[in-house]
Symmetry: C5
Subunit: 311 residues, 5 copies
């Protein structure tokens, strides 16, 4: 709470104040920060709901509230919510969990003495958004790799687990899309000329971020379609494998069932006019060999032998 | 009817009057309420049709009529229609069935002496709409749980009933979507600046409700896609199971049909030059063991043994 | 033709004239009516084409021509075209076939001395459109019932005919959608403020009809999706049934083929060192019983017995 | 080239000049015509590319260039490109191949002395477009017939060729859609009030053509969906047929494999305590008959007999 | 770096300067060029990212930055990024890799002394864009050929590799679509009247390029749908093949299993009242022949013989 008092005193004494709050669970702290900076009650409420849809909302033309969603692979997909308040002299960022996704922005501030120090809070807000959007590219790449692996597996020897993993990947791509899609809408709203908090100079940068956001969407869309195509491929692969199994069964049955029948005939205990010249072993063997050869020839003529190659 | 008379006297004496009517079946009551508050005939007609599509309609710039649809799990999905009339000094809500979905609003009025008491009827109408939309989140969560259970089942040992339940879930998600989609449109219409009944202050709140409504839509859309992906997963699972069954059949057939044939040969009652050194039990047993070993080796080389692991 | 003369004389003497023409095949009659009321040549041509797409067209800001499509179950789906001309003092309706779909409107005129008698031709045109749109609700309900029946069948014991009926239902839903979709567009065009023939008062009513039309569209869309989900369900049901059949085959084969082989061994006519203690019936029976028990145990361990329950 | 000279002299002497050019391969002729009428270089280039996308382009508010695509069944689908230039006093049409698709227009000019002679070149251009669009209706009907035939085949006894034909039909419907879709866009552009070359009177006619074009689109869309539904139907039919085959196999196997086993038992050459009262033919026959009856009863209880009816 | 100095001196002395840079990896060179021509920092950054989404961005109404994607078959699909800067007196093109895709433009400059020499840098930028878009047509044609080959294979004797190739083709079509779609958007933005760098004359040309771009999109869309239809066709083909295999198995089993059983009966070593008149070879042979004939007749009556023709 001391820090909050310090915060109150700092307000107004710096051209741009960046406050980064880790964790959104402690309601009184958030309420106090809201009081200091005059943040809208609805925005503070939305902060607490970590399932918030990414959006941008302007209150009284003076405060801008943006919720975004950061993506990381840790190594599972982790979508963390971030709330950004932009006022005429401050930027406040609320992270759902402590972490360093905004480190690139901090480093830009420390190292690059140029633009980010010279510019106002709108450029800082842009830098935060840009860092969030740029974070999606390595995530998207991770999914591209996953889909490549899955494709290799499906084209090779797919197992039941392959399909499970494919389903899981499709499911996570849906989550990603649900995070990126509204973020694109929010940035589109900002990048039009309607929000007075952004200078025209920053708007050019924001449009670049918007382009990157759309690019992420494009990637996710085509991964989705790829996932759907892989499902088709998997199903056809299972069907092919079934065909192969059935061909083996059919060939075995087609060759040996007639042979068994012939041996059964020669095994009958019936009366037959004795002596029969053909009721002996060599003749029986000959009949069987001939039958087997005929069946195999017929099967081969249908292209069923060497199944791997044909099917 | 006495209550209706009381209602008539109350009208005009309070800055905001909230009338909540349970049940829409008693036409004369509804007609009488319509007369007292000057409600439009079409709106009253729509009240009686409980299959009404959610919508918002302004009559003469003075009355706003909203139909919405409340969702509850009881434990089956229950979509109840609610009609809301908003005038300059009253809010009338018509519930299809008695119940307490507006309890949160009532409690806000009783407890929170702040905003909801100070503000006009437009804020009350917003509060009702907000309560309705917020009710969808636990419902959506219930479907998320259902889909998780179904996913586990499909990845485990799916039965025919799994597919039936999956279909039922998809069907209910369609109903939900059919309820939420037009509600989003109605709120979007209201949250633009075109309806003079809403103050700019309330519009900010209404936009928040609109965001929540879109978020519900997003969730339902991705559940729908998830349901479709689960159907694919189920179908592939059934195919895999078929493959497994066929492999068992094929291995049994491939091993025992040749063996049967060999035993059939040694069972033939044919004349053979006696004594034949190989026409005895040990030799027959050896031939059979060798054949079985060959077939099993070949089958194993195709990766068909230990089917669970490979397929 | 006498009636046409009468018509000509009546024109101008009544504030609103409603002419209902059954059948559109007799070209001269239609041409004559067109001449009397000054209808546009293109509209008259469109009347003759009973496959016309529903639309609304304004000619010279004075005449409005609407084509709509009425749906009935008789008991097959019957989509009849209706042409409606609206002028400043007349409404002319052309039905494709004689029938009574507009009876509700006539009864409203006869009974309800109120609005429909007081109002101008635009309200009459609205009443006709409203009757047409309202006619779709029982039709949509009939399809809901059909889909319910089909769902029950698919979840029970689907036959090949089930799939045929499902396809037929989907096909008719496409026809319905093709009729309702452009009708919605036409009504949307009318319900905006652009057509001077409609008074603002009637526009409120027209927007209600538009809402109903959109509601029909929503229903049809979700029936379409339901039909698609039922197709999935059916296919999975067929696959499940196949699995069941294959399991029976595989169990029979797995149990009896080894037993046959064993009986074949004991049936061999080979020389064996006599007497062999185990070459007798009880021992053979014991071996067979043991084998059968082992196979059955193994099959049961895979969960294949009691197939209905598991699969 | 003489004709071209003649053309040059005719220009300006007639209120409306219609030039119809068969074939677009002879570049110098086209260039010369372009020079005479002042056509834009890009439009002339597009003429030569017979795979041009239908479009409408206005050059300098004075020339309109339309490319359209005519459809005919000859009896295969034949999509011919047509280029139309419209100036203030001329219409030039370029056909890809000689033929008579514009005969209806010519006949309208010759017979109907009315409108088409009185009106300007814009009406002539409309008449050409209208003839092109109307040509799609018989083509669409031909595909409706094809799909009806395919549906009958799929519901009857589908063969592999059925699926091939279905695929071919779907492919041609795609081509048609690719031709009609942009044509609709082009006509929509023209039928708005933006092109000064069209009089308001002709615009009414053009909107009618636009309606027809949308109607063709609707038809093609529903044929596409029908094709997709037929594919589902076909796949389910193949699966059903497979089920039927498997049921026959399973019944044969379930009945005869146990019987074979029993006959194998009675065929064993084992020592058994002689005399055994049940080791005789009538007893063996009784056991077999009993077994067969049991199996058949069990199979019948699953509803597998009379497969055509149940499955 | 000398060349860069030369470049600086050339700037301003020529009405139009076209600089083509091969490779974007050498950052200092790019930075220097950016300094000379006053290019925006963001655009230079985007140049380095070769996965950039095609877009068009105007900076300060003075510079236009376009990223496009060139497609070539070499013979695999190769999508190279190209960056285009357009200023009032220069065009700078950055190719990802050295190559000659802009040769057609260079030849047009060298040969055609006309338009491209007379016009300003906007026409040159158009020419570059046009060359890029036109390059897609042979690529699209290559995919049309691939799909034709695949269709022939699927309708003939599809193998597992067919499905893999089909999947690969669908995947590459997705990449192409992801390249063309945003390019179309970018060109659409340019071809509206909003970019002052383009003269109205050039805009006409740009709209032609836009049409070509949309045409490429149409082609890719229908190839995508074709790929999806081919997948259906392939799956149905695999199912058909399975049916064929199963029919062979079933016929073999249905004919020979009963025969084996009969021979088993005659092979029983049971006591039977001797002499039995029918316990001899000719009678046994007759029973077998009769059984086989009956089964074959029954099978033929189901249309299972001559499977290729029926199925």
């Amino acid at each position: 709470m001391d820090e909050l008092g310090l915060l109150e005193r700092m307000r107004g004494n710096w051209p741009v104040l960046w406050v980064n709050v880790d964790g959104v669970a402690h309601a009184p702290t958030i309420a106090e920060i809201g009081r200091i900076f005059g943040l809208h009650r609805l925005a503070l409420e939305d902060l607490g709901d970590v399932q918030q849809r990414p959006k941008a909302e302007v209150y009284d033309d003076e405060h801008l509230f943006i919720t975004a969603r950061m993506a990381r692979m840790t190594p599972a997909l982790d979508l963390e919510q971030m709330g950004i308040f932009l006022g005429s002299d401050f930027v406040i960022t609320f992270q759902e969990r402590p972490g360093d996704p905004l480190d690139p922005v901090r480093q830009r501030i420390r190292q690059n003495r140029g633009r980010i120090r010279r510019c106002g809070p709108d450029y800082l807000a842009y830098a935060v958004l840009d860092a969030i959007v740029d974070n999606y590219f390595p995530v998207a790449e991770a999914y591209a790799d996953m889909l490549d692996d899955l494709e290799e597996e499906v084209l090779g020897t797919p197992t039941r687990a392959t399909m499970g993993r494919l389903h899981g990947t499709r499911r996570e791509l849906m989550s990603l899309r649900r995070a990126v899609w509204p973020m694109r809408d929010a940035i589109t709203v900002l990048s039009r000329d309607q929000v007075p908090l952004f200078t025209p100079e920053t708007l050019v940068y924001l449009r670049d971020t918007q382009d990157h956001c759309i690019q992420v969407m494009d990637l996710l869309e085509s991964y989705r379609e790829l996932g759907s195509s892989l499902t088709d491929l998997y199903l056809s692969s299972v069907s092919n494998r079934m065909n192969e199994i059935m061909k083996v069964l059919t060939i075995f049955a087609a060759v040996f069932i007639p042979l068994s029948f012939i041996s059964g005939i020669f095994g009958m205990n019936v009366d037959h006019p004795d002596p029969v010249w053909w009721w002996n072993l060599p003749f029986a063997a000959g009949v069987m060999a001939g039958t087997a050869a005929l069946v195999l020839l017929w099967v081969a003529s249908r292209g069923w032998i060497g199944g791997g190659g044909r099917e």
